[in-house]
């Protein structure tokens, strides 16, 4: 166990090192940050001064060395735009993104499981067919289109829902203020959460359905039926439990992906989270923030994968985490 975790910590460090090296090597194509920091009419000499001040005129390896030595002390640079340490900026934006991803996951799980199960049990029912047909469309509609359509229907035309932002949030602890403790905050998170869940939801319905179908044809379900159990206990006790194993695994990985890919939803709804922050950082050539965010996402992926592996190990004792025993 400890060996496994150590291995993962090492892997995380390696992933972040590679990402940072990659970010530095493409720095020149990210644009000239001084353009966003100064007037068009600023003279070339002043622009060079600013580049000197930012250390952009030093050789690339020297810049990278400087970055690494600071990174080892926990300093991932200062954002050009926010004028704050990049890690602080990311941590401040993180709760908004996590809450959005959390709300979307709740939606996905509470909707996909009953619907997936129903589609598996009654494959020929009109509702199952409709669900399957709609889910194909759901997968193929881009998130920003869903989001814009919802804004036009529910905010502009009907006037039921707020069109952008987080609304009134309630401060919980540190940088974390929540949407879930006020009416206004809750109203604001509904549409972004639905939009974000719209791609993953069909995927999960199909996943639950496929897994359930497979389980239903297994020997132990046939045996349970042969034993004379009625339908409901068979579905819920024997089949659903075993269906959930792969769903949790895929779910864990997908949530990690969702956190990293909230960019579109956040930018349409002006949601002040990490995804929107990253998009803006790219537009502004805020190189330190771009680098730190990509490294952070890399770290996040390693963490999520580690958690899923651990979870899997607990659920299925046959899984060997370290890969030593044969």
């Amino acid at each position: 166990m400890i060996q496994f975790l150590l291995k993962r910590v090492f892997q995380a460090a390696l992933v972040m090192l590679i990402i940072s090296l990659f970010c530095f090597s493409i720095q020149d194509t990210l644009g000239d940050p001084t353009r966003e920091m100064a007037a068009m009419s600023m003279s070339d000499a002043e622009r060079e001064n600013l580049r000197d001040e930012l250390g952009l005129n030093d050789p690339l390896m020297m810049q990278y060395g400087r970055f690494l030595s600071k990174a080892l002390q926990g300093d991932l640079g200062t954002s050009y735009f926010f004028k704050e340490p990049t890690l602080d900026v990311i941590l401040k934006k993180m709760p908004a993104t996590l809450e959005l991803a959390f709300a979307a996951s709740i939606l996905i799980f509470t909707i996909s499981i009953p619907m997936g199960v129903f589609c598996a049990i009654k494959p020929r029912h009109w509702f199952s067919r409709l669900t399957m047909a709609v889910s194909v469309i759901g997968i193929s509609i881009p998130v920003f289109l869903t989001a814009l359509a919802m804004i036009y229907i529910f905010s502009v035309t009907l006037g039921w829902m707020p069109s952008f932002g987080r609304g009134e949030v309630v401060q919980v602890w540190g940088y974390w203020s929540t949407n879930f403790l006020s009416r206004d905050g809750f109203a604001h998170i509904v549409m972004p959460a639905i939009a974000l869940s719209s791609i993953m939801l069909p995927l999960f319905i199909r996943l639950v359905r496929a897994e359930m179908l497979e389980v239903l044809s297994s020997e132990y379900v046939k045996f349970a039926r042969a034993k004379g159990l009625s339908n409901l206990p068979v579905y819920l006790k024997h089949a659903l439990k075993n269906t959930m194993l792969p769903v949790i695994t895929v779910g864990g990985v997908q949530i990690g992906i969702m956190v990293a890919y909230t960019i579109l939803t956040e930018s349409v709804f002006q949601w002040p989270g990490m995804g929107f922050m990253f998009l803006e950082a790219v537009n502004r050539s805020d190189i330190p923030l771009i680098t730190a965010y990509i490294m952070f996402v890399g770290f996040l992926f390693v963490v999520v994968n580690t958690l899923v592996d651990l979870l899997y190990g607990f659920i299925n004792p046959m899984v060997d985490l370290v890969g030593r025993r044969q």
Binding site: G31, D32, M42, E46, K83, F164, F269, Q270, P272
Partner: protein, 518 residues
């Protein structure tokens, strides 16, 4: 009896409450970005100038008709060839409670001369002399015609507030671009609105300054909540759904939707930003030939671009100076003529054409990439095959600095609202030491334009100066120095009852202190 007393008290209370709620007006506005800093000398940009007009006041400011209106200066006069004397308003208070005097102007002027962004605008200014507490002299290095134009950039800072050292022992007045400073996070000006709270990238809340000097203003907004909404469709949706009261900028694609709404109103006016293409004579031998450049200019149907791509939300241009500028030459007309263009190509010996490269940004100017595509297609009519590349502005500016293509797009707004600024940056011979021609990617070079621009900037007689500037415009026209396209118009949209029309201007800096909400 007791009950009646209670009832009447309640009624009085209720009427009082309704009175205060009726007079307290809040404006919720959404721009594409919020100010990057509270230090108005840190960066010269539209967002910062907007902040300057909200929380500070200038010496004088532009009116909608491009004339000057006294603000903190009550009068001015030229006392000799290089000096203009301003009398200052008395009894003006800063947000901190300090009284404004001539010393604050002196301090502000010196700071502007230090600012990397603003020092260029003040290059011709030698000093600001304090005559007495309420009189200052602006002294230029020689005769300079743009003293008043430049005075619109002098927003006095509270010198006492910004003097000294902060908690970290750093100078409070320092201009810091890389990282936070006292001035970038604290503010004390004389303007109509104080900054009540600010979360960068999320919102800025302004509250009316109770001791604001201008008590004659009709402005009745007590509180402004500025929220950045980057996505233009979301911005329009926020207005139409009633979540915000005022938005800018507005894309021409959304005009019809706003016009169709019964709750919102669209305000537009002609702008002064010119959009052009420059033809690089250093990279291409063909473009050195005046006939080829002339052919290209004649092949570009900029009226069609304005009509079809800009949806009439621009003014077709044949020169750099928009109407209202001294240099605007009314004789110069758009000149699309395909037959003549073909003839000119033939005369120059390029009947069979040639191929060139073209670059344009795709997120800097309104419809920039579509305009570039249209121009590329138009040039194919005279057998010029265009290899077009469009890219985000973050990548475009480094490419522009490298002069990476034969034809490059550039838009320009004159900081001084004066023609000479266009020539200095776009038309004069590029010169590293003087800084002239910094955005002349075509490397167009004319001794006449160079000399005449310098002369015009020493001519204080308005009529003489106008003749000189118009002559330069004519020379650029005859030489086909660049491809003129159009001046971008400006648009704002607001909820009905927000009386935007009187407070907007060609600088795109609505004077929100004077805004009336009905």
């Amino acid at each position: 009896m007791k009950n009646r007393f209670l009832l009447s008290t309640c009624l009085v209370m209720a009427s009082l409450l309704s009175f205060t709620s009726a007079s307290a007006k809040e404006l919720r506005m959404a721009y594409d970005a919020d100010p990057v800093t509270l230090d108005i000398h840190e960066q010269l940009s539209g967002g910062i100038l907007q902040l300057s007009h909200m929380s500070f006041d200038p010496l004088i400011r532009w009116t909608k008709e491009l004339s000057f209106q006294p603000r903190l200066a009550i009068s001015w006069q030229r006392i000799n060839v290089s000096t203009v004397r301003f009398s200052l308003r008395k009894g003006v208070k800063f947000h901190s409670g300090n009284m404004m005097t001539a010393q604050d102007f002196k301090w502000t002027f010196n700071r502007l001369k230090q600012s990397p962004d603003f020092k260029g605008i003040f290059a011709n200014f030698e000093t600001l002399n304090v005559v007495d507490d309420y009189t200052i002299d602006l002294v230029t290095t020689g005769p300079y015609p743009l003293v008043l134009h430049t005075a619109t950039y002098i927003f006095p800072l509270d010198s006492k507030f910004y003097t000294g050292t902060d908690a970290n022992g750093r100078d409070k007045g320092a201009i810091v671009k890389n990282g936070a400073s006292f001035a970038s996070t604290n503010l004390s000006g004389t303007g109509p609105f104080k900054v009540a709270s600010r979360e960068q990238g999320i919102k800025v809340v302004f509250e009316r300054f109770a001791d604001y000097w201008d008590t004659s203003t009709p402005g009745n907004v007590d509180r402004i909540v500025l929220t950045p909404i980057k996505d233009e469709q979301t911005r329009v949706a926020a207005l139409l759904s009633g979540d915000v009261d005022f938005i800018a900028p507005v894309s021409p694609n959304d005009f019809n939707q706003i016009r169709a709404s019964s709750d919102a109103e669209l305000i537009t006016m002609p702008g002064t930003r010119i959009i052009t293409f420059q033809m690089n004579q250093n990279r291409r031998e063909e473009l050195k030939d005046q006939r080829v450049r002339m052919a290209i200019v004649h092949a570009v149907n900029n009226e069609a671009i304005v009509k079809k791509i800009m949806k009439d939300f621009a003014t077709t241009a044949a020169q750099m100076s928009p109407p209202g500028y001294l240099g605007h030459n009314p004789n110069l007309k758009p000149r699309y003529d395909l037959a003549l263009a073909k003839q000119l190509m033939k005369d120059a010996g390029y009947e069979d054409g040639f191929s060139i490269t073209m670059m344009a940004p795709n997120n800097r100017y309104v419809n920039d990439d579509k305009i570039a595509q249209a121009v590329a297609t138009m040039l194919s009519k005279i057998n010029i095959a265009v290899d077009l590349q469009t890219m985000p502005k973050a990548q475009y500016w480094p490419a522009f600095d490298d002069r990476a293509a034969d034809i490059m797009m550039i838009g320009w707004h004159s900081d001084t609202e004066d023609s000479a600024n266009f020539y200095e940056f776009l038309a004069m011979t590029p010169d590293q030491s003087s800084g002239m021609g910094a955005y002349n990617s075509g490397n167009y070079s004319s001794d006449y334009v160079d000399k005449k621009t310098v002369m015009a900037n020493q001519e204080t007689d308005v009529a003489n100066r106008a003749t000189m500037l118009q002559a330069i415009e004519n020379k650029l026209f005859q030489d086909a120095a660049f491809i003129p396209l159009h001046w971008q118009n400006l648009a704002w949209a607001a909820r009905k009852g927000v009386d935007l029309d009187p407070i907007v201007n060609a600088q795109n800096l609505p004077y929100l202190g004077d805004l009336v909400i009905r």
